[in-house]
Symmetry: C2
Subunit: 353 residues, 2 copies
């Protein structure tokens, strides 16, 4: 009933950002044509396209993100939620993911959950609210409501860092259980019988759980009682790895080999072992998992499992592209993780008490 013209910042103060309309005016075409030149150049004639692109360049035009997202109902943004960015575990994979996205003109939104399910759920909502067209998630473990939310919002996602043909979700990764079993086999082959495991909290972490299970598999296969395995659960950090090792060294009988859920814990364990005057691998063998850079530079270098970080990142991107385009991404992808033997693993010390 009431007509109120609505002008906000009429007094431009130099902060002028050209808009589509301005470009159109300068190029002498309609806004639709400019938009098409930018988003679907093929349908515009060569002459017009040149004219328009010249104007775009001359004016330094860049589309307004909000407007574009609103009108197109698409943001060209993918999101990734990783447990942590503070150590290198996920960095390489993320880097590869991002590089693959860039090639398709897609921006990456990263969030970290600090291994907290609540925080992760919040981050999922946040990224979706910010218009992420697709999501990269680590591992399967999360409340069902997270999945139903993504389902309801029709946001495609892929689970990375694990391969599990059984879960009804598209995933790309490796078999954590199998990989850890291989590593444990290498340890057992060297005569170790009193083993210990330093792992992350396994409650909300299927990777940790599967790795732990792989170790149990290996022991069982050799007729060892998994009950004899000493386990310490702790958060991923060098300091915690150190502390866990100290704790384990006070148990009886002392383990001769300590397997760690990842290289960060292993690095801490290694440092602590040295601090306690233990010779690694003479007195004690230590293994890691992931094969991040520090695995190679600690003394002695860590025996570990090399994880295909970069391929997971790249592959995840491909899967998401397909899904966003409405195509069938195909089945989950299994990549190889290989045992890397380095100096921190040696033969079991003599059995003398």
């Amino acid at each position: 009933m009431v007509k109120v013209p609505n002008r906000r910042q009429d007094s431009r103060q130099g902060s002028d950002t050209p808009k589509l309309e301005d470009v159109a005016a300068r190029a002498g075409v309609s806004t639709a044509t400019v938009s098409r030149c930018l988003n679907n150049p093929a349908v515009v004639s060569d002459a017009t396209r040149k004219k328009v692109l010249d104007a775009v360049r001359a004016m330094g035009y860049a589309p307004n993100f909000g407007a574009q997202a609103l009108a197109a109902r698409r943001t060209n943004t993918f999101g990734a939620i990783v447990p942590t960015m503070e150590n290198a575990i996920f960095a390489r994979g993320l880097q590869a993911f991002q590089e693959a996205l860039r090639q398709q003109g897609i921006t990456l939104l990263v969030a970290s959950s600090s291994y907290s399910p609540e925080l992760e759920e919040q981050q999922i909502h946040s990224l979706v609210a910010r218009g992420a067209d697709a999501l990269l998630l680590i591992g399967h473990d999360r409340p069902p409501k997270c999945y139903s939310f993504l389902q309801k919002r029709q946001v495609p996602y892929v689970i990375a860092w694990v391969y599990d043909g059984d879960e009804g979700r598209v995933s790309i990764g490796f078999d954590n259980r199998k990989a850890m079993k291989s590593l444990a086999d290498a340890v057992l082959d060297r005569g170790h019988r009193r083993l210990a495991l330093i792992t992350a909290d396994r409650r909300n972490n299927d990777r940790a759980r599967q790795r732990s299970q792989g170790l149990v598999d290996a022991m069982t296969a050799r007729g060892l009682d998994p009950e004899t395995l000493a386990v310490v659960e702790t958060a991923y950090s060098i300091a915690n790895g150190a502390q866990a090792l100290e704790q384990l060294m006070h148990t009886t009988p002392r383990p001769t080999a300590v397997m760690c859920g990842n290289d960060v814990l292993a690095a801490g364990a290694l440092t602590q072992a040295r601090k306690m005057g233990l010779d690694v691998p003479g007195d004690l063998s230590i293994t890691g998992f992931d094969d991040i850079e520090i695995a190679e530079i600690v003394t002695p270098a860590l025996t570990t499992v090399h994880v295909p970080h970069r391929n997971m990142g790249k592959g995840a991107a491909s899967l998401l592209f397909a899904m966003r385009a409405g195509e069938d991404p195909g089945p989950s992808v299994e990549l190889e993780a290989t045992v890397i033997l380095r100096d921190s693993l040696g033969p079991a010390p003599d059995r003398a008490p």
Copy 2:
């Protein structure tokens, strides 16, 4: 002239995302009131607010990001561009930055430039185009056009990781030159006279340049000729650090102390030294810079400079809040960086040839 009703996806297929209007209808108020409840609750009566928030919760409403950004001309998103995420150097600072932002309901958009000025410029454009309300940048070195662009677009930014009262920009960080001089003093105090430096490319990196300069300062102050300083420039990576050390060990006279531009290079140098059968610090002292986690776990532990990562991140956030609110952020902030003495630095070996 032509009236064309424009209905897109009329056939809703379960992917219904409630909109403001739906919430308003359910709560029996206007969309304006709902919007106010969410953005400026103080102006709404208690009863109405409760009614609305209940409806919001019941429907699982979340605002559409694009629409909100478009209408409010504000995205509640800050951007950060760091040279790299692949090593821990910037991770901690970024983490702190992000934590501070979260408390204000702001999302962080991270991009990495891989130490490439071109890429960084592109990232700046990209983040601004995506509506970043403010930016965190590392170091002063970048083409003037980057600054004029930000100026023109009225995007507030702060420079972190360096403190330089002279540059006419708000910055938060420490004096790289002074810090490196202190560390170099510690080295010289131990009798070292043949020094070497492994540094990142100094052309587009003021931190590297200043650190290098700090070393020269220390030498000059003791009457040493800076020309005798052997320098290797290389990209930040463990492998490159190793390679640089090897190269330096083939120069005559051999340095007795190798100072590295950061801990990553130092870790590589350390590994290489050991591989070459050198005793550190007996034959050779090595120092790092940054005090990231690996500094403590390598053998021997690295003497380095502790950088106030977290405080820089947190402080940068505060400065940007002020700037976005149109307040005066005050002058640049100088934080302390302190020398951390560990085992990799020892007295110079005997002068015997």
